[in-house]
């Protein structure tokens, strides 16, 4: 029941569809990075290059009707869940055809059709909202599972613990996905959390199922997520997944920043060796599920789709004030 979008007909097997989802995210993010200096995308962008396996592995365990909430670093989650690519690129360009109509930019993605209920850049802000969506599913008995994505830095916010507690208390159909990329902006773990922090033990002690895994191994992520989603769907309560990964580019923006002093080129190289896309590529080729030529052909198709999305965005109008939503859903008027 994969939700990986627009899976090409000739890539029927799971291996290639996981690879396809990651390749597509990688190529979209690379296109944003390489075109950012054109200064048409006039908003902050927090790219997910290096972290694709978490998004794709988790989304592959979800149904389309399931819900996802995310953070400032949301492009991968949105795309993996089946969010519309054109609408995302248009949103980053501030166009009226964007998924939030130009109100939100890169940090406020949404696709109601795909069950992507929003991403917000206030750290921790979307976690309890995800729990609320799961609470509604429990109340309504609709069988929907919700997944909330967040980073390692976010586990420092009080709202994270408060939400874990409530989710465990009410056995919500919820999966918490912590993407541990070692950094919160430019701050390493050492200045934020004591050595030896065991998030899995913490989650378990709070009454959740919890597991840790290599977030750059898309099949492992899929397996962990599949178990977590099954638990959630069968009423066995929430799961906390801690997945280790690494962001390749700067915290916000299109560049590499291994030279500015908060991390080393050597550390980056170690993680680049663990590239989730390359690992899965090697695996599918070794298993005979795909060939270099078929992957190249897939790349060409994705490149055309990406070009189309950028062309669509650039050809779209900017929103007029009357197109932008008011602060209130109903008119703010005094009864006469």
């Amino acid at each position: 029941m994969s939700t990986i979008p627009a899976r090409p007909a000739d890539a029927a097997d799971v291996g290639q569809s996981l690879l396809y989802g990651m390749l597509r995210i990688r190529m979209v993010e690379e296109a944003i990075a390489s075109r950012y200096h054109h200064e048409e995308m006039r908003c902050p962008v927090h790219l997910s290059i290096g972290q694709e396996a978490v998004a794709v592995g988790v989304a592959s365990a979800l149904d389309r009707r399931d819900a996802v909430l995310s953070t400032h670093r949301a492009h991968a989650h949105y795309l993996a869940k089946g969010g519309d690519l054109r609408a995302m690129i248009a949103e980053i360009h501030g166009r009226a055809t964007g998924c939030s109509g130009g109100m939100g930019g890169s940090m406020h993605l949404v696709d109601m059709e795909a069950g992507f209920l929003g991403s917000t850049p206030i750290v921790g802000g979307s976690i309890p909202v995800g729990a609320g969506v799961a609470f509604a599913s429990k109340q309504r008995g609709d069988g929907r599972v919700t997944a909330v994505f967040f980073g390692d830095g976010t586990t420092e916010e009080g709202v994270f613990y408060e939400t874990l507690n409530f989710a465990a208390l009410h056995r919500l159909p919820l999966v918490f996905i912590c993407e541990d990329n070692l950094y919160s902006v430019y701050s390493p773990r050492e200045v934020r959390q004591p050595a030896g922090r065991d998030l899995v033990a913490l989650g378990r002690s709070m009454g959740l199922a919890a597991e840790r895994g290599d977030g750059n191994d898309v099949r492992l992520v899929r397996d962990l997520a599949t178990r977590a989603v099954a638990r959630a769907r069968s009423g066995d309560g929430p799961t906390l997944l801690e997945l280790s990964t690494y962001r390749w580019l700067e915290h916000c923006g299109p560049n590499y920043d291994n030279d500015i002093g908060y991390r080393s080129e050597a550390e980056f190289e170690v993680w680049r060796e663990r590239c989730p896309v390359e690992r899965e590529t090697a695996r599918v080729i070794a298993a005979g599920e795909a060939t270099v030529a078929s992957i190249d052909a897939t790349r060409l198709r994705i490149a055309a789709e990406v070009d189309d999305a950028f062309a669509f965005a650039l050809a779209s109008p900017f929103p007029e004030d009357r197109d932008l939503p008011a602060a209130y859903a109903s008119p703010l008027v005094n009864p006469r």
Binding site: E39, C43, P44, G94, M103, I122, V123, V185, F318
Partner: protein, 352 residues
């Protein structure tokens, strides 16, 4: 001797001098020692004062505000920074319920000498959750002082005054001021909290502004002068306590009042300014006072919409002309906003 440095450098210098002068002062915030150093306002300070006095912190705004309060009642003098006002919203419980009240709530036995630096974001698609101007919210609560410098000189002097103050001071800095250059004395000095300044003298109308909007008001005054309109600009510098005397005195001279504020209208600083004039300068007013504020909606990310969202020089000039009964005027070329309106300076290359 005069010396020109940026607003950001002035903040850094004040912090440096406060850390130097008083061992009880310490500085804490997300990213304080990182390579970007809070837009250059904290660069090098950890190297100079050590990791116990200049430190990063977990992303735990509410708890860390409580920690700062606790250390303050125990004798320390913390400076806490947040890179956006919006992030500090997580700490409102500690700020409003504890910091603001601790002194009075326990019979006046303790003081909370805490400074909280908050940055207002604008431009390059900051959008709904990274651009809020909530100074009036902080000003609303008894027990909090609120300052909002508009020049490098005042940035340094007000920060030093805030650190020396025995109460909680919310220090609000607009991102677009960080690169502004101006005269700043090298030695330690303070600018008194609660004293506005007349940034430009005039006789036809008083423009009351604060923070970044002071710059817009000054530019508007320049344009108005070309057409023979003499606008006085009062830079509030402090929102709480607000300088009622300066407002009343200026309106007494000009007989007209336009409040220009970077926040929303309802119960905002511009409303407060008009209320002061209505109560204390009613007889001086020759025409109804007016307000320029943000529209009653959220900041759009899309740059052309954001450009329309922020009122600036053209809106101020048009309102003043209307108040003076002058005909509307199309924007002369030299006053036309160039570019996208989403950069603090033409050299800025995004993202924040």
């Amino acid at each position: 001797m005069t010396r020109e440095i940026t607003f950001a450098a002035a903040i850094r210098e004040a912090t440096d001098q406060c850390l130097q002068a008083d061992p009880r002062v310490y500085l804490m915030g997300l990213g304080v020692p990182d390579p970007k150093g809070i837009f250059g306002t904290t660069t090098g300070l950890q190297e100079a004062y050590g990791v116990d006095r200049v430190l990063d912190m977990p992303a735990s705004e509410n708890a860390m505000t409580g920690v700062a309060i606790g250390s303050a009642i125990a004798g320390q003098r913390p400076i806490l920074t947040h890179q956006r006002v919006d992030f500090a919203l997580l700490s409102l419980d500690q700020l409003f319920n504890n910091a603001a009240k601790w002194h009075a709530m326990f019979g006046g036995q303790m003081r909370v000498p805490l400074v909280v630096r908050l940055m207002v974001g604008r431009g390059w698609g900051q959008g709904p959750q990274h651009s809020q101007s909530l100074h009036s919210l902080f000003g609303h609560v008894p027990g909090l002082k609120v300052v909002m410098p508009s020049t490098p000189h005042d940035a340094k002097g007000l920060l030093t005054a805030a650190v020396q103050d025995d109460d909680v001071v919310i220090y609000i800095e607009h991102r677009w001021l960080h690169g502004v250059v101006g005269d700043v004395p090298a030695g330690t000095y303070t600018v008194p909290i609660g004293a506005a300044r007349v940034a430009r003298e005039g006789s036809d109308i008083t423009l009351v502004a604060s923070g970044y909007q002071t710059l817009e008001a000054l530019r508007a005054a320049e344009w108005l002068a070309e057409d023979g309109v003499s606008a006085e600009v009062v830079d509030l510098r402090s929102i709480k306590p607000i300088d009622e005397h300066a407002i009343v005195a200026s309106v007494g001279r000009t007989r007209r009042l336009l409040a220009v504020d970077g926040g929303w209208r309802f119960a905002g600083v511009a409303s407060e300014v008009l209320a002061i004039a209505a109560e204390q300068a009613h007889a001086s007013l020759s025409t109804a006072p007016r307000r320029i504020t943000l529209p009653e909606r959220h900041t759009p990310t899309s740059w052309p919409a954001a450009q329309r969202y922020y009122p600036g020089v053209p809106e101020i000039v048009a309102t003043v002309r209307d108040m003076l009964g002058l005909p509307p005027q199309s924007v002369p070329p030299q006053w036309r906003e160039s570019g996208y309106g989403d950069q603090p300076s033409p050299s800025f290359r995004g993202p924040f």
